[in-house]
Amino acid sequence: MGDKTDVWQGTLALMVLKTLESMGPLHGYGIARRIEQTSGDLLTLNYGTLYPALLRLEQEGAITSEWGQSENNRRAKFYSLTRTGHRLLNKEARSWEQTTAILARFLAPSEEA
């Protein structure tokens, strides 16, 4: 069970980092909605699972948080990418691309056969 969560959380973390990179500082709810939208609503996210992932990224120094005002004047905690986060994103993205590329190669012939 631990393994699965790790993979999932690893992917989730990557999505969070990418979202923050493209959107700039954003609160948790916004991140969650953005991820769902980007996935073309293929992914349904339990929003609760986002917060441990955010906390872990913050503990690793990849993101920082700050309380601020939302667009409709609600108080919300905004997360933004740090320099470490940028580096991490690049690294993770590269390794993810590699993984998917390798997997794609594996899967392609078997489909043909």
Binding site: H27, N46, Y51, E60
Partner: protein, 883 residues
């Protein structure tokens, strides 16, 4: 990596419950929900629906908080802190249970620690020599003694001829008269060959070791001090090196000081170490044996090889010197064996006893825990229903076990520490000098390691027992009913097994204690053939520089006896070369005139005594006459022999008037037997009686002897005035070790070892009995409380009180009988371990077994009578109404 570390530190920080973070996250969630609700409202949901949907999408507020919390810190650590706090609260709530459990564990662990500390000091810690396992005890092997002294001449031949030892060195005891400000004082010493300390690998703390060749006759007199002697007698001054000290009239140069941790059990009390450069008269004769030796095996040489080679050398010497060396073989054994051999079996038995006690204590605490877990079933069912996972509940039990064991271990360490002090205090000074390694006792790393191991084992047992009983499946049922029926029976069966185990162990310990106690009693009541009551004794050492002729020694001895006889309360006084009950040894080889002789060694104990000796110790004359004042140097030599002597060498003959001498029947060795006395116990209490000869001190004087004084009143009161009286004869005479005969017997090593074994195992057994009976009581009482309703029904249906008694007592007696039977079977097996420690008693001593069975049976009956009585007094109406 750095990121990982930072996250880890953050988490560690999070272990301290942070109110701030909790609040922060609550408001973050609140804002999240608000934002979501806003969106939902905008898309046209009803307010209530909007909120419900937001929470649903989040996946629950509390579980999200929990997940966040767990990320914030190490969940295990946090909940463990919680568990410990909860466990402490639980234990505080039932102080009776906690106190009992901690006390039992403390006793068990304390006893084990104390005994283990002895085992560690004596058996585990290596002796303070370089590579002690390569050191050998080198001795001769005679017909009567498997390990006997080696003669100086033989030793030098062995040293020269052997190829198995890198070096062999000899040692022997000795004593000097040392002039001190408070008068002449005899001090124990040792004489060694020059390389003695080098063989052991001892480096002197101060000064230098003996030079090679310093043990030769022309070498100057030099001595090395022990650390203790240096501190006590010379104030620990460094300038003492090179100073001259007067040892029995010989000016001797102090050349060195031994390190503080130096010990050599065979000569544990020696304060001055000198070389054997001045050979005693004994050492000049090949037939006189007074040394022992130590050797260091060469690389690759085994003890067996050494034994074979030394035996071959001994054989060669036997051919070369048939007169003196007949049947003199070699005895090679590991040196540590010699030093700790006697104490090992006792220590191992005690350790086994202590561990059994610990097992009982653990079992008792475990069954207490079981009873508690039973009564806490509802609590755990509730906690389970409220969402505690089974693993969390199990962890709670484990935590409680650890907390309990932790407290027990602390109590045990304290108890163990005091037990060590107490036991050490009981060891007499003489004993301590023959077992100097006991001075290394204490809570050493080994002992602490042992403590940790037993604590972990105990903690394991305690956490597992309730877990076995944690009814995860039956949890819901437990919620439903008050708890009765199947679960109760199951526990009763498990608890009953535990009680049987306890009773079994108690029987084993009781039988052990019974056997040891009985054997100790027999030992103290062994036939001495003299009356040790009201006898005062004192060793006297005449300075040989002044008393250099036999006549002078004889006159001085007479003066001392006469002077002491005039003391008030003294009824008679005498001297002997060796006190009774000090052990076989100091022997003479004899040959009876007119009997066939082939050079065999007829070994007899040799004692020189004064005229009134037999009268003073009240030994019985069987035939002939005793020694008289007329038997002096001017008259033919006469002896009195003991009964064993007569039986062995004169079977079917009358020994009176017969003559014997040494192996060559040298004219000055011929003695005539004038009387036969009873077998006075010269040997130690557990040794066999040997033939003995009593020569007249008047005819065969020795400057070192023991004074024996019979008093009309308590012998203790006269002890102080004895040495004063001796010093009135000549202040230059040394005296030492004034004790009553009874004290000497009670403090002898044999008596001490037997006594301590009997008392300690007895103590363990008593505790085991108490704990076992408490355990039985617990099980029966619990069973009664569980069966209240059943008994109520029975009584309502017409059962008599007698039947109820029977019901309960039957349950108890089945457990007891099974326990006693199993115990006796185990005890029979276990007591073979004791065989070496028992004296005149067999391991299957029926009376001991029967006694133990009766004691345990009776105690068990009493313990189960109380709950049985309670059961019989149940009011059926109330019992039925209660549930």
């Amino acid at each position: 990596m750095i990121n990982r570390l930072r996250a880890w530190l953050d988490k560690l920080n999070g272990v301290v419950p942070g109110q701030e973070q909790e609040l922060d996250f609550s408001s973050e969630l609140e804002s999240h929900l608000q934002l979501h609700i806003d969106d939902n409202l905008r898309s046209g949901m009803a307010p209530e629906e909007a909120r419900r949907n937001a929470i649903l999408k989040l996946g629950g507020i509390e579980s999200t908080k929990q997940a966040h919390r767990e990320t914030r810190t190490f969940p295990l650590l946090e909940t463990t802190v919680q568990d410990i706090r909860y466990a402490l609260r639980q234990l505080r709530r039932s102080p009776g249970f906690t106190a009992t459990a901690v006390l039992m564990l403390g006793l068990g662990i304390g006893a084990s620690i104390a005994i283990f500390a002895f085992v560690d000091a004596a058996l585990i810690k290596p002796l303070p020599y370089a590579d002690p396992t390569r050191l050998a005890d080198v001795a001769e092997h005679g017909v009567a003694f498997p390990r006997s002294n080696i003669s100086y001449q033989d030793f030098r031949d062995w040293q020269r001829l052997n190829k198995v030892f890198s070096s062999v060195e000899a040692y022997t005891g000795g004593g000097f008269l040392l002039a001190t400000p408070s008068g002449v004082e005899p001090v124990p010493a040792a004489r060694v060959t020059d390389g003695f300390f080098r063989v052991l690998g001892i480096h002197l703390m101060l000064g230098r070791d003996f030079y090679s060749g310093e043990d030769q006759p022309n070498a100057p007199a030099t001595t090395i001090l022990t650390y203790g002697s240096w501190q006590r007698r010379f104030g620990g001054r460094k300038e003492v090196i090179g100073e001259t000290v007067n040892l029995s009239g010989t000016p001797t140069t102090i050349i060195g000081v031994l390190p503080e941790d130096f010990l050599f059990p065979p000569r544990g009390s020696a304060e001055f170490w000198t070389t054997v450069h001045q050979l005693s008269s004994c050492e000049k004769r090949r037939s006189c044996h007074n040394l022992f030796a130590i050797g260091r095996l060469k690389d690759g040489v085994s003890f067996e090889t050494a034994q074979t080679e030394m035996a071959a050398i001994a054989k060669q010497l036997e051919i070369q010197y048939p007169g003196s060396n007949r049947d003199q073989g070699a005895h090679i054994a590991p040196l540590p064996e010699l030093m700790v051999g006697t104490i090992r079996p006792i220590l191992l038995v005690l350790l086994a006893g202590a561990c059994l006690l610990l097992v009982i204590a653990c079992v008792n605490v475990a069954s207490l825990l079981l009873v508690r877990s039973e009564s806490r079933r509802r609590e755990f069912a509730v906690r389970g229903a409220l969402g505690a996972s089974p693993s969390r509940l199990i962890r709670q039990f484990i935590t409680e076990g650890f907390v309990l064991v932790g407290a027990g271990t602390v109590a045990g360490l304290a108890a163990g520490y005091f037990a060590i002090r107490l036991l050490l205090g009981l060891v007499s000074k003489d004993m301590l000098s023959s077992m100097p390694y006991l001075s290394r006792l204490g809570l050493t790393p080994h002992v602490l390691g042992f403590t940790v191991v037993i604590a972990l084992l105990a903690a394991g047992i305690f956490s597992l027992t309730p877990v076995l009983r944690l009814p995860t499946a039956a949890m819901r049922e437990a919620l439903n009913d008050g708890d009765r029926g199947s679960a109760g029976t199951l526990w009763r069966r498990l608890g009953a097994n535990l009680v049987v185990l306890e009773l079994t162990i108690a029987v084993v310990l009781l039988v052990g204690a019974g056997l040891l106690g009985k054997s100790f009693y027999r030992l103290l009541h062994v036939d001495l053939a003299f009356d040790p009551g009201n006898l005062a004794t004192l060793f006297v050492s005449l300075p040989t520089t002044t008393y250099n002729k036999d006549e002078l020694v004889v006159t001085a001895a007479h003066k001392i006896i006469d002077r002491v006889s005039t003391l008030p309360g003294v009824t008679s006084a005498a001297i002997t070369s060796t006190l009774p009950v000090s052990g076989n040894g100091n022997t003479d080889w004899i040959r009876v005139v007119g009997h066939p002789f082939h050079g065999e060694h007829n070994e007899v104990n040799e004692r020189e005594v004064s005229t009134d000796y037999f009268k003073t110790i009240r030994a019985q004359l069987l035939r002939g006459r005793l020694l008289t004042q007329q038997d002096d140097a001017t008259r033919p030599r006469v002896t009195v022999i003991n009964k064993a002597f007569a039986d062995k060498y004169f079977p079917g003959e009358d020994p009176i008037g017969k003559k014997y001498g040494n192996g060559d029947l040298a004219p000055d060795s011929i003695k005539e037997i004038v009387g036969i006395v009873d077998n006075i116990r010269e040997s130690s209490l557990d040794e066999a009686i040997w033939p003995a000869e009593y020569k007249a001190h008047n005819q065969d004087a020795d400057s070192f002897f023991a004074l024996v004084v019979r008093t009309s009143g308590d012998a203790k009161s006269i002890l102080p005035s004895l040495s004063t009286a001796v010093h009135q004869v000549d202040p230059g005479i040394g005296t030492l070790n004034e004790l009553t005969m009874q004290q000497r017997i009670n403090d002898s090593q044999t008596a001490y070892l037997h006594r301590s074994a009997a008392w300690l195992v007895g103590g363990f057994a008593a505790l085991a009995l108490i704990l076992g009976v408490i355990g039985l009581y617990g099980v029966i009482a619990y069973s009664v409380s569980q069966r209240t309703r059943e008994i109520g029904v029975r009584m309502a249906l017409g059962a008599q009180r007698g039947t109820v008694y029977q019901l309960i007592l039957r349950e108890a007696s089945i457990l007891t009988v099974v326990g006693i039977t199993a115990g006796i079977l185990c005890a029979l097996g276990a007591s073979t371990l004791l065989r070496g420690l028992l004296f005149q008693i067999r391991t299957w001593d029926i009376s001991t077994l029967a006694f133990v069975a009766v004691v345990l049976g009776a105690s068990a009956l009493i313990a189960s009578y109380i709950p049985a009585h309670r059961a019989a007094s149940i009011n059926p109406v109330e019992a039925l109404r209660a549930e």
